[in-house]
Amino acid sequence: MAPILEMRGITKRFPGVVANDDITLSIQEGEIHALVGENGSGKSTLMNILYGLYHADAGEIVFRGRPTTISDARDAIELGLGMVFQHFMLVDTLTVAENVILGAEPAKLRFVDYRTAVERVEALARDYGLAVDARAKVSDISVGQQQRVEILKALYRNAKVLILDEPTAVLTPQETEELFDVLKNLRGQGTTIVFITHKIKEVLAISDRVSVLRRGRLEGTRDTAETSHRELAEMVVGREVLLRVEKTPATPGETVASVAGLTVRDRRGGVLVNDVSLEVRRGEVLGIAGVEGNGQQPLVEAITGLLRPESGEITLHGQPIHGLGPMAIKKRRVSYIPEDRHKRGLILDYSVADNLILGLHSEAPFVERYLFRNAKEIAEHAEKLVREYDIRPPNPRQIVRTFSGGNQQKVVVAREFSRNPEFLVCSQPTRGLDIGAIEFIHEEIIRQRDQGTAVLLVSAELDEILSLSDTIGVMYGGRIVAVMPAQESDERRLGYLMLGGDPDTAEGAHLDTPAS
């Protein structure tokens, strides 16, 4: 088959970096082509060039054999390119149909013909198997459905090549499955798909061919059927990777943190966390598995003092800490990697050095005479941690916003881990990170455990839970529905429980239900 789209010798420089270095990429008509690479490897830049949002410094784009210039998104749409961004471009207050037709409205006598719009959108949704209610308001539908609206938008504009930028980052495992079905369906009907991701499992599950980018260069293109997880992982990081964290069996000591009968409600009285009890021991990782939104976040926010629980007890070495503020809890050597580093974990407009003292900023030695910042101590602290945690670029004075996701997370990890915590709470610690960074953070968590820290790990990634935890709890509907030793669990059983399966009938399981 002929390539529908070729990018030849694409080079794009930004001040200080070459984001794309002489990349030549060829997309066959009707294939699902995966584009993988770590954060900052140049995937998004390349696609933004294709979609006319950036302009290449060198190279050309060839569409169906003809060299073309794409100077803005309108050119791209006219050629038949459709882009689904990671952050959706939808108007929440409009309906699905209204969003789809926005900018290309069917009109009768210069008025928008809403009925025709709904019909067309429904027909399109039916043809491509994209189940979504055309009359529903976008704010009322799930994230997975919103993504379908984005795909419909592209199809409505006759997209022949659909580019999806990390489409699974926002989806639950179930929704990911559904998306894959949709993509296969689209391929069956002749649509070409470019699928950007950094999850190799997904590449293997969905793509026909895969291209790997590393540090702005094309590492190579493979037929998916002829490559392996290991080969792709090596191409992505440029060296051999440990796919499983190496660790010795845990030697748990006394209980450090315990939660008993904890209940958290939202402002409207809905139960977020329902009578949860758990214990974390010295030198042990307690993993909490669960589909996101089942109360994990309110649980950790209650433990770290950001949310006030309605009832229940949280103790640290037997001392109650519930009702204390985040600062008081921090001072008891509790460290916390929050799930959302942009919202909670970092002040993006602060320098690395200033982020590395967040929470310690009012303590000696960073403050002297009670009021004045000690610039020398702050800088030395930062230089030490930047070196120890290999934060790149190694410039403590640079603002964090300009760093890649992995290095931003390293800033959070460096700050929280370097305080020698007794109790470490990690919530989705590797979300959105590339393999290299995930590996690094996993090793650091195990190192903390081995130093005798009690670790509570909350993650929606089963791999992460299974490879790091010594004890595993499953959270569903605000409750911990089961707790078991890690060696007695596997992906299938956890998956069953996470989706609301009955713990008593889980096959082959002899599960401890938590004491309540």
Partner: protein
């Protein structure tokens, strides 16, 4: 260039400077419509504001209160708060300073003057505390409350200056403040007074608070990202209240300076919108103390030179208002201004 904090980036400097140039160009169109030569008119404007030591002193005198109100707005903004209440805060500050200045006599200057200044600052701080606490505890938007507090300040001072503290003359003003409470004139016959020294000190103090102290770290953290600040153990509500109080105290110094250094008394509705022009000054100064100083001097110069231009040419002083408005427009539409910049110097 790597963006670093506490220093102004090239964009922070280029956009305001270029905005001023564009505004002057746009202003020249109006000058042509009036039938004058823009070069002549701007020549007069420049000469009369910077052309002699005396003119410079006059410009600095006009700039002084704008430094205070500009700093006030910029400081609150660093905490994510929009203080539109500088006008009200400076009125209550001015009134309290006048009351102390008029009512107390026989005190040495070393006590009387600082007492009047500090009392004025306290009044402004209290005035800003109200919207601050309402925002922090109840989430009521500070823009609404600072505006409403402005009106309370207008009418409260209207009452005080025509009632209990009405002076002996047939005018809505207090008596002259005692000599021991006045800010000395530094360069007669201009009205440049000791207030400029307080203004320079205020710039230094605000700079140090923002970037050299724990308080500034917390206030800026709240301004950038309140949820991350909370995570870091920083009390969002306490810092919001603190930022408003300090902002109000700073704004009130503009009124204090007008009373103790310029008019020598509280005059009803004396302020030519100093508090509101402060918003423009903060905007043009990119909320940086040094930027605020430069912007205040520019606006002071426009006022000084504008009056002369009105007198010596056919261009009315209203042109100054047009230029000020244009500057704000170009700074606010900084995307537009930057795209114009790019076009002039292709990369």
């Amino acid at each position: 260039m790597i963006p670093q904090q506490a220093s102004l980036t090239s964009r922070d400097v280029l956009v305001p400077v270029f905005s001023v140039v564009l505004a002057l160009l746009a202003g020249s169109v109006f000058i042509l419509i009036v039938g004058e030569n823009p070069i002549t008119a701007y020549g007069v404007l420049f000469r009369e504001s910077f052309g002699s030591v005396r003119n410079i002193a006059a410009t600095l005198q006009r700039a002084t209160p704008l430094v205070f109100t500009g700093l006030a707005v910029a400081f609150a903004f660093r905490c994510g708060l929009f203080n539109i209440g500088a006008e009200g805060q400076l009125y209550v500050g001015a009134m309290v300073a006048a009351i102390i200045g008029v009512s107390l006599t026989g005190l040495p200057r070393l006590i009387h003057l600082p007492l009047a200044v500090v009392a004025g600052m306290l009044a402004g701080g209290v005035w800003a505390f109200v919207p601050g606490i309402l925002k922090a505890k109840l989430g009521v938007h500070e823009v609404i409350n600072t505006i409403m507090m402005n009106f309370i300040a207008y009418f409260l001072t209207d009452y005080l200056v025509t009632g209990p503290f009405h002076g002996g003359r047939w005018a809505p003003e207090t008596d002259r403040v005692a000599d021991t409470a006045t800010l000395a004139r530094l360069f007669p016959p201009t009205r440049l007074n000791g207030g400029i020294i307080i203004a320079v000190a205020a710039i230094a103090v605000i700079y140090v608070i923002l970037w050299k102290t724990r308080i500034g770290y917390e206030i800026r953290a709240v301004g950038f990202n309140p949820t991350a600040a909370e995570y870091g153990g920083i009390s969002v509500s306490r810092n919001m209240v603190l930022a408003m109080v300090l902002s109000g105290a700073c704004a009130s110094l503009a009124g204090v300076e007008q009373v103790l250094g310029v008019h020598g008394r509280f005059i009803q509705r004396f302020s030519p919108d100093l508090g509101f022009v402060g918003i423009a000054v903060a905007l043009l100064g990119k909320n940086h103390p040094v930027g605020v100083l430069l912007a205040a001097i520019l606006f002071g110069a426009l006022r000084t030179g504008g009056a002369a231009m009105d007198r010596l040419t056919d261009v009315p002083r209203e042109l100054i208002v047009i230029i000020q408005a244009m500057i704000i427009m170009f700074v606010a539409a900084d995307e537009l201004t930057r795209s114009l910049l790019r076009r002039r110097r292709p990369v």
